[in-house]
């Protein structure tokens, strides 16, 4: 088990402050956060590439702080495609095994197996510069998994690949990561879908803090704060100001119909989270289109209501023009309620 106890770092662009987490063997932890949230800094601190300024980092109860990088039994895949330019693909993958003291023959044998696994059989003799970006990253992944490290760190490994390759490699990841099934895998990403799809557990980071951790579906269903809600879906959950008046939820001048499932708190101000799929075209709420964009087979429509702006996800491809007036309906059962401080206060009757 890898334990972060009050872990803090200094000196880099994004210092980490007081991170606590227990990461168990055999699990994949996805770290979700925007660019600059501190994901890379966390991975670098765990790896020993950056110094820890406070707190502890323990692996199976042993302090890691004094252990040099090379003895941490970890491997890493960077966002950039980092391979050894002077070595062939086979020697690249065999490199860590050779450093472990394996004979050239044994190391090559295991490297070949790893290369076959990542779909690069037949490329052993090439130089990294002769490969495409996707293939280079596969070499890096092969080198990371061939070690069967205790801890495998992946820092946005798909970020520099084009859409198609990203999708393809993401589909292959569960199979590839199964090679490290006994280890702890930390996988950072900016994409909510990737984090939820790959992670046994998800860690949500923002500005150097851990905002939430737990099973992805739990965090998705009940994000603990406004910030978490904004991060866990793409398109994001829209946050608007509202109030509870006489047991009814009011957004601006709009009084929302009561919902049997959503238990409203006492009268007062609240922040309301509207999931993109809670809005649909056709209904009694007037809205103005700001922008519409296509994402795969869906249309993402940015609209403004009299009470604020929101993002709507419409299935299928639809034409919307800016300033177009449309009528929208809202499924109030999936609304999220937050206190003025941003803490989740949503209660559902079905929960209890």
């Amino acid at each position: 088990m890898l334990s972060l106890k009050n872990l803090s770092t200094a000196d880099r662009k994004r210092p980490l402050s007081n991170l606590d987490a227990d990461l168990k063997s055999g699990k994949i932890y996805t770290i979700l956060g925007r660019t600059g949230a501190g994901k890379t800094e966390l991975l670098r601190a765990v790896m020993g590439l950056d110094d820890i300024s406070g707190g502890h980092l323990e692996l199976d109860g042993q302090d890691l702080a004094k252990r040099p990088v090379r003895k941490r039994q970890m491997s890493m895949v960077y966002q950039q495609f980092i391979n050894y330019p002077h070595l062939t693909v086979l020697k690249n993958v065999a490199f860590p095994l050779r450093r472990q003291g394996l004979s050239a023959e044994d190391a090559s044998g295991r490297a070949l197996v790893a290369l076959e696994l990542v779909g690069l059989a037949g490329f052993e003799g090439r130089m990294p510069s002769e490969l495409s970006g996707g293939q280079q990253q596969r070499v890096a992944i092969a080198r990371a998994i061939v070690k069967k490290a205790r801890i495998l760190l992946m820092d946005e490994p798909l970020a520099n690949l084009d859409y198609k390759l990203r999708e393809k490699l993401r589909e292959e990841f569960p199979r590839l990561l199964a090679q490290n099934a006994d280890g702890i895998i930390l996988y950072s990403t900016t994409e909510p879908a990737e984090a939820m799809q790959l992670g046994d557990e998800m860690i949500v980071m923002h500005e150097g803090h851990i905002l939430a951790k737990g099973p992805p579906e739990e965090i998705f269903e009940a994000p603990s704060t406004v910030e978490v809600a904004k991060l866990i879906s793409d398109p994001p959950v829209s946050i608007v100001d509202g109030k509870i008046v006489g047991g009814k939820l009011v957004l601006g001048e709009t009084v929302l119909p009561e919902n049997a499932d959503l238990k409203l708190p006492m009268d007062g101000s609240v922040k309301v989270g509207i999931r993109p799929d809670a809005l649909s075209v056709g209904g009694d709420m007037p809205a103005t289109v700001v922008l519409a964009e296509f994402s795969g087979s869906d249309t993402i429509v940015h609209v403004t209501f009299e009470f604020g702006a929101a993002v709507m996800l419409v299935e299928g491809i639809h034409e919307f023009v800016p300033d177009q007036s449309i009528a929208v309906s809202m499924d109030t059962s999936s609304l999220l309620l937050f206190s003025e401080h941003g803490d989740n206060i949503t209660e559902r009757r079905s929960d209890g």
């Binding site: 790896m47 590439l49 040099p68 990088v69 090379r70 941490r72 970890m74 491997s75 890493m76 960077y78 950039q80 495609f81 980092i82 391979n83 050894y84 330019p85 002077h86 490199f95 860590p96 450093r99 472990q100 990294p128 510069s129 970006g133 280079q136 080198r143 070690k147 520099n160």
Partner: protein, 281 residues
């Protein structure tokens, strides 16, 4: 591109080529002339305008009043330049790697100051260094010796090596060093196993600069040697007596420029490969 552009381009290139090549042709033709042919006006084509003579070339391998023996100064220059370049490149590469990868701090002195300290050695006019060098070499009885010159040349070439290599290492992503350490290398292992093998282009450029500056230096070679250890540039000057032997000087100049010309051809081919291109993204 238009025809006019091409014509202008070739005119410019040919003019420039003439500027570069002509002195060599002049030296080549002069080296085969005798006193008469040199002093009797502009003549360039052998057997037609003048009768070629081997006097210029043979005098370089004679001795005493017949000329000067070029072999010893050539070997001296080669040994001093090679030794000093190898030492400078080795020390300079290590220093540059340290400066590009680790942060040093001693009071107000930081990495940038140390780098500037190296480079500042080249800012000083050589004459400022000449007297201290002379006194120091005298003290250790290394005046007029190969060893003494190597020591001085290392001091002169080291800044160049540090400068070029610091710049080069800065272009190699630090992630490559980190990867090597993650994969089980010590910091020194990462340097020798991963960074150095990927630094050939930088080493070649730095090495070339060291060789050029070392080979061409006249000033220190002139001041710090007398008769025992003569280097090539000094030997050329000593040819110059009451009558300037243009034929010998030309032959001498051609011989002394040959090693550098060969290096330039080799390096040009090497550098065009761009060994790091496409390796990182």
């Amino acid at each position: 591109m238009s025809r006019t552009y091409n014509i202008i381009k070739y005119i410019c290139l040919l003019t420039w080529a003439a500027f570069v090549v002509f002195p060599f042709l002049w030296a080549l033709s002069t080296s085969f002339k005798d006193a008469n042919a040199v002093t009797s006006g502009a003549r360039y084509i052998p057997w037609v305008e003048f009768e070629p003579s081997l006097q210029g070339w043979t005098s370089l391998f004679a001795s005493g009043s017949q000329g000067i023996n070029i072999v010893t100064p050539f070997m001296n220059s080669a040994s001093v330049t090679l030794l000093a370049s190898i030492v400078s490149l080795s020390l300079g590469t290590l220093a540059a790697y340290g400066l590009s990868r680790f942060s040093y701090k001693a009071g107000f002195i930081k990495n940038a100051d140390i780098t500037f300290f190296f480079i500042s050695q080249r800012i000083m006019p050589p004459i400022v260094l000449a007297i201290p060098f002379f006194l120091m070499l005298k003290e250790i009885q290394a005046l007029d010796t190969i060893l003494g010159l190597v020591i001085v040349y290392v001091a002169l070439l080291l800044p160049i090596a540090v400068w070029v290599m610091t710049d080069f290492f800065a272009s190699i992503p630090k992630e490559l060093d980190e990867m090597a350490m993650i994969d089980g290398c010590t910091p020194i292992g990462a340097f020798f196993r991963v960074i150095l093998p990927n630094s050939t282009a930088g080493l070649v450029v730095a090495g070339m600069f060291c060789l050029i500056f070392g080979w061409n230096d006249f000033f220190f070679a002139f001041i710090l040697t007398f008769t025992e250890t003569q280097l090539l540039p000094v030997a050329i000057v000593s040819l110059n007596s009451s009558v300037t032997p243009w034929w010998s000087l030309s032959a001498f100049a051609l011989i002394s420029v040959t090693p550098l010309a060969l290096i330039a051809i080799f390096v040009e081919r090497f550098m065009s490969r761009g060994s790091l291109a496409g390796a990182f993204r």
